[in-house]
């Protein structure tokens, strides 16, 4: 059974979602299926029966970045970048379902996205800022 991630990266040339742990634990391969996030490394392609959104589809190719992407840059939330495509998809999905999250909700929403650079704080701050909760 072919995982959705392989189809995205190797057949469709969409290299935003990353092959990380291959066990659905790190979140680097996170994409959206319908209105929910999934680990595309663990999703059999046969089950991808709803529209799939990868990080490439979050903002238009030559247009401005999505506010979540801007916030990540402004808050220093991007370091090596390996986790960021998955982070962006998770944060955008979280904010669509809950436009006014508190910090605990953001942290709970990102439990499936591991970052080994930032310590998460700047990413959480960026997510809150994208939700209009810029801290002084």
């Amino acid at each position: 059974m072919t995982p959705l991630l392989d189809v995205l990266r190797d057949r469709l040339g969409l290299r935003g979602a990353k092959a990380g742990c291959g066990e659905g634990r790190c979140g680097a391969c996170t994409v959206r299926l319908g209105d929910r996030t999934v680990a595309s490394c663990l999703l059999p392609t046969v089950l991808a029966t709803e529209p799939v959104t990868t990080v490439e589809g979050i903002a238009p190719p030559d247009g401005p970045l999505h506010p979540v992407q801007d916030a990540l840059l402004e808050h220093g939330g991007v370091q090596c970048g390996a986790c960021i495509p998955g982070m962006v998809v998770s944060i955008c999905t979280l904010l669509e379902s809950d436009p006014d999250p508190d910090e605990a909700t953001v942290r709970a929403g990102l439990t499936g996205n591991i970052c080994r650079c930032t310590g998460y704080q700047k990413i959480v701050e960026a997510a809150l800022a994208a939700a209009g909760k810029d801290q002084p």
Binding site: G24, R36, C41, L42, L43, P44, V46, S90, T111, G112
Partner: protein, 275 residues
């Protein structure tokens, strides 16, 4: 040396009867795929997603019937009665969003070798029964786990939610959320008007290779109010009766040592639920 590689063959049945027949013939049921995709993925698989009979949660009197394809996220969102709160908590605290969104209750039960399955201890404490895809009646979950009958398709899970019963679930991880539990505890208690426990069902997951009920802990809880002290005593009784497994995430002695604290948290949650 002969090396044989077999590609996966996917079947997309259009009826439950066809799915039952395929599984009885040896094909592996495919629900959300989060367990199967970490294995060899070879052989025949039956894609269940298109079968409406396996979806949804229905209530008939005091009994709730959960379709095998209900995801952890759906179970976490569902408005459960207090008797079934342990199932909601187990679903909500299991793994993380990307997995909860697709991993199913049927898969959690059907995944052989998955000691850390969170829904299983919750369902054991709730005395769950399974509807299998045969003509027979529902069978106890505990019996299914012991025998794992080959070729049986889990169609739905039945749990009873009588008034006056409350339940709670807690899990311990080495790090923060998202990890497998090194020990999980589910308990469901019936209490009289004075708050004395008259019946208790307790199950422990992740400690032994397969989650199971703990009669020693159940006996320890009955006859007294549900307090932090009684929960800890029940946890100690459970630990004394279990054979904890050593694994890279935690040695067996540690799993046993944390049990009283995990019992206390599960009991506090059960006590919080309205009766």
């Amino acid at each position: 040396m002969t090396l044989s590689l077999t590609a996966a063959q996917l079947h997309g049945p259009t009826s439950l009867a066809e799915a039952v027949r395929l599984v009885a013939g040896g094909a592996v049921p495919l629900a959300g795929g989060t367990w199967i995709m970490r294995g060899p993925r070879a052989g025949d698989h039956v894609v269940l997603a298109g079968l409406a009979e396996l979806h949804g949660v229905a209530t008939a009197g005091d009994t709730v019937v959960v379709g095998a394809l209900a995801t952890h996220a759906e179970l976490a969102r569902h408005a459960w009665p207090p008797a079934l709160a342990a199932l909601r908590t187990a679903a909500a605290e299991s793994a993380f969003p990307q997995v909860r969104n697709v991993a199913t209750v049927g898969g959690n039960i059907g995944a052989a070798g998955f000691a850390e399955a969170d829904l299983v201890p919750a369902l054991l404490a709730l005395d769950a029964r399974l509807r299998l895809g045969d003509a027979g009646g529902a069978v106890p979950l505990a019996g299914y786990l012991a025998a794992r009958p080959a070729g049986a398709l889990v169609v739905a899970v039945e749990v009873d939610a009588p008034a006056g019963r409350t339940s709670g679930f807690a899990r311990q991880t080495v790090r923060g959320g998202g990890e497998y539990a090194i020990a999980s505890v589910a308990l469901a208690v019936d209490r009289d008007a004075a708050g004395v426990v008259t019946a208790a069902r307790v199950a422990v997951g992740a400690v032994e290779p397969v989650a199971r009920r703990c009669p020693e802990a159940e006996s320890a809880l009955v006859g007294a109010p549900l307090t932090a002290a009684s929960a800890r005593a029940a946890g100690a009784a459970a630990a004394a009766g279990l054979h904890p497994r050593d694994a890279p995430d935690a040695p067996g002695w540690y799993r046993a040592a944390v049990l009283p604290a995990v019992f206390e948290r599960a009991a506090a949650r059960a006590a919080e639920e309205p009766r």
